[in-house]
């Protein structure tokens, strides 16, 4: 997954970058399976790898990239950007050093085969409001995307 991530940000060709992202997303789905979350893994494969990446590939094809591939790849502020990211990494390490005793030493062993059912009980029970709001958000996003990409409003 890390190799996929590194390839995403370093490739010159956006299509290769998108392929690396697909590999990263599929690796992420298998990590979800390792974390005993099969429903989230299934959703990740359908939505992310099968939906969002298709959208990305469509847009890459529509936006002609021949000219942009010949220019410089990293923008004019790359020094500052990298320093900021390294500082963020340092912050992460500091947080880890302070709080690493909270985590238990061994993982819980909850092997279950009714993960989807339990997710459904929670999703439609306790988080019903969030579910409805998410569907409203998707509606707004659809209308927004259609309006933004139209030739003439």
């Amino acid at each position: 997954m890390l190799i996929g991530g590194i390839l995403v940000i370093t490739q010159k060709n956006p299509v290769h970058s998108a392929l690396a992202l697909i590999v990263t997303l599929l690796a992420q789905a298998s990590i979800y399976l390792m974390l005993y979350a099969p429903f989230v893994a299934g959703v990740q494969i359908i939505l992310y790898a099968g939906g969002i990446m298709v959208l990305f590939l469509f847009v890459i094809m529509l936006v002609s990239i021949e000219q942009s591939m010949k220019e410089r790849q990293f923008n004019s502020q790359w020094v500052v950007g990298t320093i900021a990211a390294v500082a963020l990494g340092g912050l992460f390490i500091a947080v880890y050093e302070k709080g690493k005793n909270i985590f238990p030493n061994r993982a819980l062993s909850i092997v279950e085969n009714n993960n989807t059912q339990r997710v459904a009980v929670l999703l439609y029970g306790q988080y019903m409001f969030a579910f409805e709001i998410a569907s409203l958000l998707l509606l707004v996003a659809i209308i927004g995307a259609v309006v933004m990409a139209k030739k003439r409003i």
Binding site: N13, L19, F39, A49, M53, V54, L57, N114, N115
Partner: protein, 439 residues
């Protein structure tokens, strides 16, 4: 040595699929079996398509290569393997190479969860149907990459059209599937994959669980809440034909319109990979349809004609089918022209008939017959779907692309939503009745 034999035979007494039992040896055996079966099925589909289309168009089809053209697919495979492998000049090498690979991987990985019987699946995931829908949507990526990497405008147009079509019909497929999943929760009392008491009446997404729900409710879901099951099945059938880019929705690869669509620039073995992936995807979505609506591995009329005598009578059907095919082979052997040049073909056909007859006789033996029942009924139903696919190709004219998209979004999507709401309402009818009339 003893440990290995114990490991191998310990699976035979457990009542689970190899994946659930964690037995790697049997997982590999099942994967080999499914792979081999799928390859044979694709080869048979190639021959059947040409013969059946030909007979529908009142002509004979391939007759020369083997007896009645039976060796034609093998000749095609040899030809494709020996063709030169062309790559267009400015094409993106890596993406060009990866595209058929992704499509084939997506088409074959789906078969992990296809249930040929209550324990005859490679594994049974908790999210079986979700996994199948998700992985079959990965093939859209391969098609987009194939069109892009060919660096010429015919494949690009074909790829864009084809992927837009596949993505639109995935939505309709998803809605039809969801309305069936609702039906699995109606009489739930600890179905396969659901934890015991305490989880209540819940449905399941696992493929084996869906067929067991049909077994428990005693009715195939196509006939449930008539006509809602039928309409959901109809929506899924249309969507699955569009999803696999087959006629009458094959504008993306139509030979007369776009040269060959997204696989124009592929030759030889790479093209045969696309072709293999297309047939495998057809078999995969037919398996979904058979599992969800037509009762999977259950024999017809499980409740109307039940009882041990009916079970026994139905258990003879696999053997009778093979003996029928052997009889047809012998009949055609007799009808072959009596010319010395045809001697090899006649002997070949007779030999094929003898092999089929032996298989048929072997299926009469009780232990073999008991094991083969589920697999036979499942394969017979999927074969029926394959015939319907070829029938559609021979009968319907092609849809124009805007008509295609209109059908997907403006007709199938509202129908799917309507079926979903009505199914949910009918499924909860006692509860609704209680709330409205006795508050």
């Amino acid at each position: 040595m003893h440990a290995i034999i114990d490991y191998i035979s310990s699976y035979l007494t457990s009542e689970k699929t190899p994946g659930a039992a964690g037995n790697m040896f049997w997982v590999l055996v099942y994967i080999m079996l499914v792979f081999a079966g799928l390859s044979v099925a694709v080869i048979a589909m190639n021959w059947l398509e040409r013969k059946i289309l030909a007979h529908m168009q009142v002509r004979l089809g391939p007759m020369r290569v083997g007896p009645h053209g039976l060796l034609q697919p093998i000749a095609d495979a040899i030809k494709l393997l020996l063709k030169e492998d062309i790559m267009p000049a400015e094409a993106d090498g890596f993406v060009f190479w990866m595209a058929p690979l992704i499509v084939v991987l997506a088409a074959f990985t789906v078969f992990i969860v296809v249930p040929f019987g209550p324990t005859h699946a490679i594994t049974d995931m908790n999210i079986g149907i979700l996994f199948m829908l998700g992985v079959s949507s990965l093939s859209v990526l391969g098609i987009v990459m194939a069109g892009w990497a060919s660096n010429s405008h015919y494949p690009l147009m074909g790829a864009l059209r084809s992927s837009a079509q596949m993505v639109s019909y995935e939505v309709a497929m998803g809605l039809a599937v969801v309305s069936v999943i609702l039906l699995t929760s109606l009489h739930g009392h600890g179905l396969y994959g659901v934890g015991g008491p305490g989880t209540g009446d819940t449905g399941t997404l696992s493929m084996i669980g869906i067929v067991q729900a049909q077994q428990e409710q005693g009715v195939w879901f196509i006939f449930k809440f008539f006509p809602l099951g039928l309409i959901a099945f109809f929506i899924f059938a249309v969507a699955m034909v569009a999803e696999t880019n087959r006629a009458p929705f094959d504008l993306a690869e139509a030979e007369s319109e776009l040269t060959a669509g997204f696989h124009t620039e592929y030759s030889g073995f790479r093209w045969s990979l696309f072709f293999l992936a297309e047939y495998s995807a057809m078999i995969a979505v037919s398996s979904i349809a058979v599992t969800l609506w037509l009762g999977g591995w259950l024999r017809p009329f499980p409740n109307l004609m039940n009882g041990p005598t009916w079970d026994q009578a139905f258990s003879f059907i696999p053997a009778i089918t093979f003996l029928f095919f052997a009889a047809m082979c012998f009949y055609n052997t007799v009808r072959m022209p009596k010319h010395p040049l045809f001697r090899v073909q006649t002997i070949g056909l007779a030999g094929f008939g003898v092999v089929l007859g032996l298989i048929g006789l072997a299926l009469f033996i009780p232990p073999v017959s008991v094991r083969v029942q589920d697999i036979f009924w499942f394969s017979a139903k999927v074969a029926g779907f394959m015939y319907v696919y070829i029938w559609f190709r021979g009968t319907f004219p092609r849809y124009r692309f805007d008509q295609l998209m209109q059908l997907g979004w403006k007709v199938l999507l509202p129908m799917g939503l309507g079926v979903l709401i009505l199914t949910a309402a009918l499924g909860l009818w006692p509860l609704i009745q209680q709330t409205i009339w006795h508050p």
